[in-house]
Every structure is written in structure tokens, then in C-alpha cells.
């Protein structure tokens, strides 16, 4: 490289030396070019952001559906329990021992004792408006109910182990019967639904992510394609590859940030609008979608920002590289 061998021509205009420090102002310049291109190609920027927003919304809708379905399944699972009814002759100490033993099991979430008198009071309160039942109770005279232990497992799969304890000879000495067999079918159904929901969610998440990825990749490629001639001109006037590429990468980050802000705003808007309808359905399960997003805000939206920005940067980098071969 020895182009400086000959004398510089004397020109009639007074130019300064063109030997500059390459790093001077580069970062600020890259930022300036990125913002300039963003607002001077406003409609193109808007179109790209719209595609990103739609991709993010579809992913967020999927996240909402996942959250709702897993909450419903969890809520149904939570309603499942085993009621153990003790024999009349079972002593309070034996029942107490049994309760303590159950509580010590790692699979047991709660073991709540309901004394037969307490059960009768609750029963009476519940059916006070039903004269037939109240009359029947009077007919029976004594308290027909039994002392009960309501056992809740941590996982529905744990009921098998609990049941094994209940069927031990030692336990059967004080247990008259348990209603687990009544719940067996429900538990099996819930487990089966829960597994299916998980599988479908996984497949849907993979499919949606792939579609979103392809759409975003394509949108960025189209955006860069419209700049292909400019990229070639920049190369021809002596801009280095990194100097051409950098503003596009910064612009890709800008698109990601704007798209995420818009998608989040729309998502919250939709959640608020659909709130009354969703709540009437979901409050039985003690679940609020808005609360879910509030609680997981940082986790969800930061990972989405990172994913979209990374995807945009990679797409831009690949697309720009294609036109840098001039």
C-alpha cells in the first residue's frame, strides 16, 4: 500500500489533511445514522415494527393461554383431596397420632382434622334452608357424622403413596373408609389433561416461535433489501463494512425496543378490555391475567426484548452482509 508516493495535487480550494483518526466520533455517528435512517424511512420503519409487534403479540397471547390453562389445571388439582373418616370407637389420641404421621409425610401438603361436632355444625349451617334435611337429622337424633381428616397432597401423583399408608393394617384399625376411590377418576383425568396441555403448549410455542422468527427475519431482509443500493454506494465511496453495518444493527435494536413497547401497551390494553369477561371465567380459579403479567413483567418482557433484539441483529447482519460484497 503505497499510494502516497507521488505529490498531492495543488487544488484551488483549501482542503485540510484527510488523515484522520478512524475511531473519532464513530459511535455517535453510528447512532446518528441509525436514528436518521429510522425517521427518514418512517413508513418502512413502521412496517417493520408492525411485523415485530404482531409477532410479539402472538407469542404473548400464547403465553397468556399457557398461563390460563396451567392455572386452571393447578386449581382443579388443588381442589382434589382425600377425606379419611374415622371409626366411632377411634380414640382422639390415635386420630391425633395419625394426623401427625400424615403431616410428617413429604408428599402431604396439609392434613386438616374436622371433628364430627364441627362437621355437623357446618352441615346444619349449609342446609338450614332445607327443611327435609333438617327434619331427617332430627329423626336420626344422634350425630350421624364421623371425625374426618382431609388430606391434600403436594402433587396428584402423590395420592398413590398416601393411599398406601391408609391401606396399612395399622391405619385400617381406626379408619372406617376414605373417599379417595371416588376422586381417582377425576385425578386421572386432571393428570391426563394437564399432560396434554403441557405437550400442546410446547408444540404451539415451538411452532409460533418458528413462525415469528421467519416473519421477523423476512421483514428485516425486506427492509435491508430496500437499502441495497445505498449499501453499495457506501462501499464505493470508501466506507468500511463495519461502518456500514453498525447503523443497521443499532436500527435493529431501535425496532426491537419500539416494537416491545407497542406490543406491551397493546397487550395490557387487551387485558384491561377483556378483563371483565376473563375475570368472570377465571375468578373461580383465583387467577388474573393482568396480575400474572405484572408479577412476571421483568422476566417475560426482558427475555422477549433480548430475543427480538438478537433475532433482529442477526437478521440485519446477514442481510447487510449480502450487499457488502461490492
Amino acid at each position: 500500500m503505497a499510494l502516497q508516493l507521488y505529490n498531492l495535487p495543488t487544488t484551488h480550494y483549501n482542503l485540510q489533511s484527510t488523515t484522520y483518526s478512524f475511531m473519532n466520533h464513530s459511535f455517535l455517528r453510528v447512532l446518528k445514522f441509525a436514528f436518521q435512517d429510522f425517521y427518514r424511512n418512517f413508513w418502512l420503519s413502521l412496517a417493520t415494527i408492525t411485523v415485530l409487534v404482531l409477532a410479539l403479540l402472538s407469542v404473548n397471547i400464547l403465553i397468556s393461554l399457557n398461563a390460563i390453562s396451567s392455572n386452571i389445571v393447578a386449581s382443579v388439582k388443588d381442589k382434589v383431596d382425600v377425606s379419611v373418616f374415622f371409626k366411632k370407637e377411634a380414640s382422639a389420641a390415635a386420630i391425633n397420632n395419625f394426623q401427625e404421621k400424615m403431616k410428617l409425610m413429604p408428599e402431604v401438603k396439609a392434613a386438616i382434622f374436622i371433628a364430627k361436632d364441627q362437621a355437623l355444625d357446618s352441615f346444619k349451617l349449609k342446609h338450614e334452608d332445607d327443611p327435609a334435611i333438617m327434619e331427617a337429622l332430627k329423626e336420626v337424633g344422634a350425630n350421624p357424622l364421623l371425625d374426618t381428616l382431609v388430606i391434600k397432597a403436594r402433587n396428584t401423583e402423590d395420592y398413590a403413596k398416601i393411599l398406601a399408608i391408609l391401606s396399612l393394617e395399622e391405619s385400617q384399625k381406626i379408619i372406617k373408609y376414605q373417599n379417595y376411590t371416588d376422586h381417582q377418576k377425576i385425578i386421572d383425568n386432571v393428570n391426563s389433561i394437564s399432560n396434554r396441555v403441557e405437550k400442546v403448549s410446547l408444540i404451539l410455542t415451538a411452532v409460533f416461535s418458528l413462525i415469528a422468527l421467519l416473519i421477523v427475519f423476512n421483514a428485516v431482509r425486506v427492509m435491508i433489501y430496500t437499502h441495497r443500493e445505498e449499501i453499495a454506494v457506501m462501499r464505493l465511496v470508501g466506507a468500511s463494512n463495519s461502518f456500514i453495518r453498525a447503523p443497521f444493527l443499532v436500527e435493529a435494536c431501535l425496532y426491537s425496543v419500539f416494537a416491545l413497547i407497542l406490543a406491551t401497551a397493546i397487550l395490557y390494553g387487551l387485558t384491561i378490555m377483556a378483563g371483565p369477561y376473563l375475570n368472570s371465567f377465571l375468578e373461580t380459579y383465583n387467577f388474573s391475567l393482568a396480575n400474572y403479567f405484572n408479577q412476571n413483567f421483568v422476566k417475560i418482557f426482558l427475555s422477549e426484548l433480548a430475543a427480538v433484539a438478537l433475532l433482529n441483529i442477526v437478521s440485519s447482519g446477514i442481510a447487510v452482509g449480502k450487499y457488502l460484497k461490492v
Binding site: M1, T11, Y13
Partner: protein, 226 residues
């Protein structure tokens, strides 16, 4: 200054754009390269600015053998050779000022220097009052003058003009040719590729004729003869 040594450029499957071209251009020379379409004129320029790589032979510019130039050195070469294109090749989303400044920004010039140099060069091409216009708001002649200003911004030793008047009317053509002649008088080596008879005859400078990738004539003070 510029030395083509038996340069051949071959395009697959069977096209020779240049075949064994040898040409020596002295510093400060004004050379016109003429020839019919497909004679290899544009290929010659593409090789000079490393837009294409030669198939065989050697190309030395100012002592720099660019026949094996590294991809990363290409921008450095292009900053030292001013190129004017027939279709101007301006950045449509940048103003006149920004188009010229971009060439300086690309090599890291400070804003202060850009603020001083660009207005000076705009004055030379008589476009100071159009500095904030976009290319689409300019006439063809004005756009070409922006292209010339951009080509001159690095004060290049070599100015390559690829059909610079191809899209211009007579008045603008004369203006551009005069500007090129003036730059040459001030010491810049000018390599003009054209197919315009009047332009070549007006200059009365060295004329090289290309035909099917080969030099068929090289006259020190030539006229347009094909």
C-alpha cells in the same frame, strides 16, 4: 501512476471483458477511454476501484499492487481514488451536504473538519446554496456536481469518471467537462470513460480505444474514431 500489465478479466462461462490489456498512465495525465458497448471500458474502472478482481495480469496504482488487494484494504483504496458515476450514485435519504460529508465520516474525520471542508468543496462545484436539498430535488447536472464534489473530498490523486455526462444535456456536459479539465490542470490524473464524440474531441487529450477487451488504438492527442 497507473499501470495495467497484461490484464485479463474473464467472466464465466466464456466472456473475456479484457484480454491482455497493458496501459500506463502518467501522473497528471488526462486520458479518455472510448469504445462501443461491451468493449470493456466499465470493467477497466471496476478493476481500478477493486469492484472486480482481475483474472490474470497485474495492476499497480501509485506503487500499490492492487491485483491481490485484501478485502479490508478496499475502502482505503477507494478513499484515494475519486470516482464519478453516470448514474451519480448519491444516497437518496441524505442531503447534498450529508452525501459529501459521508465520504469523510466513513474515514473518521471530525465534525469540525467536515464542517470546514464540505462547504469549501460545495463552493467549488457551485452548490453551496443547495446544501440542504435532497438528490431528488436537484437537476441531473447538479446531482453530477454533487458526485464530483464527493469524489474530490479526499483530494484524490486520481479521478475516474465513468460516463459522467451520459445523462446530461449539452450545457451541463460542457460544464462537467470543464470542471474535469480544470481539476486535471491542477494536477489530478483524470481517467474519463465515455462514448460521447463531442466530449473527446473537445478535450484534445490522450485517447485510448478499446474493442472487444483489447486496446486497438492509443493516441497522445487523439480524436473520437471508432
Amino acid at each position: 501512476m497507473i499501470h495495467f500489465r497484461h490484464v485479463t478479466k474473464f467472466y464465466q462461462p466464456d466472456t473475456y471483458a479484457l484480454k491482455g490489456v497493458s496501459l500506463h498512465i502518467q501522473p497528471g495525465e488526462f486520458i479518455s477511454i472510448i469504445g462501443q458497448s461491451g468493449s470493456g471500458k466499465t470493467t477497466l474502472i471496476k478493476l481500478l476501484i477493486a469492484e472486480e478482481k482481475l483474472t490474470s495480469g497485474g495492476l499497480v496504482i501509485g506503487g500499490w499492487d492492487i491485483s491481490k488487494i485484501h478485502h479490508r484494504e478496499v475502502p482505503i483504496l477507494r478513499r484515494q481514488i475519486g470516482v464519478i458515476f453516470q448514474d451519480y450514485k448519491l444516497l437518496p435519504q441524505k442531503t447534498v451536504f450529508e452525501n459529501i460529508a459521508f465520504a469523510l465520516e466513513a474515514c473518521g474525520a471530525s465534525n469540525n473538519k467536515i464542517g470546514k471542508i464540505v462547504p469549501q468543496i460545495l463552493k467549488v462545484v457551485n452548490l453551496l446554496d443547495k446544501r440542504d436539498k435532497y438528490p431528488r430535488q436537484l437537476s441531473g447536472g447538479e446531482q453530477q456536481r454533487v458526485g464530483i464534489a464527493r469524489a474530490l473530498i479526499h483530494r484524490p490523486k486520481i479521478l475516474v469518471a465513468d460516463e459522467p455526462t451520459g445523462n446530461l444535456d449539452i450545457a451541463n456536459t460542457r460544464e462537467i467537462v470543464e470542471l474535469l479539465r480544470k481539476l486535471n490542470e491542477l494536477g489530478t490524473t483524470v481517467l474519463l470513460v465515455t462514448h460521447e464524440k463531442d466530449v473527446v474531441n473537445m478535450l484534445k487529450k490522450r485517447v485510448v480505444v478499446l474493442d472487444r477487451g483489447q486496446i486497438v488504438s492509443d493516441q497522445p492527442v487523439g480524436r473520437y474514431v471508432l
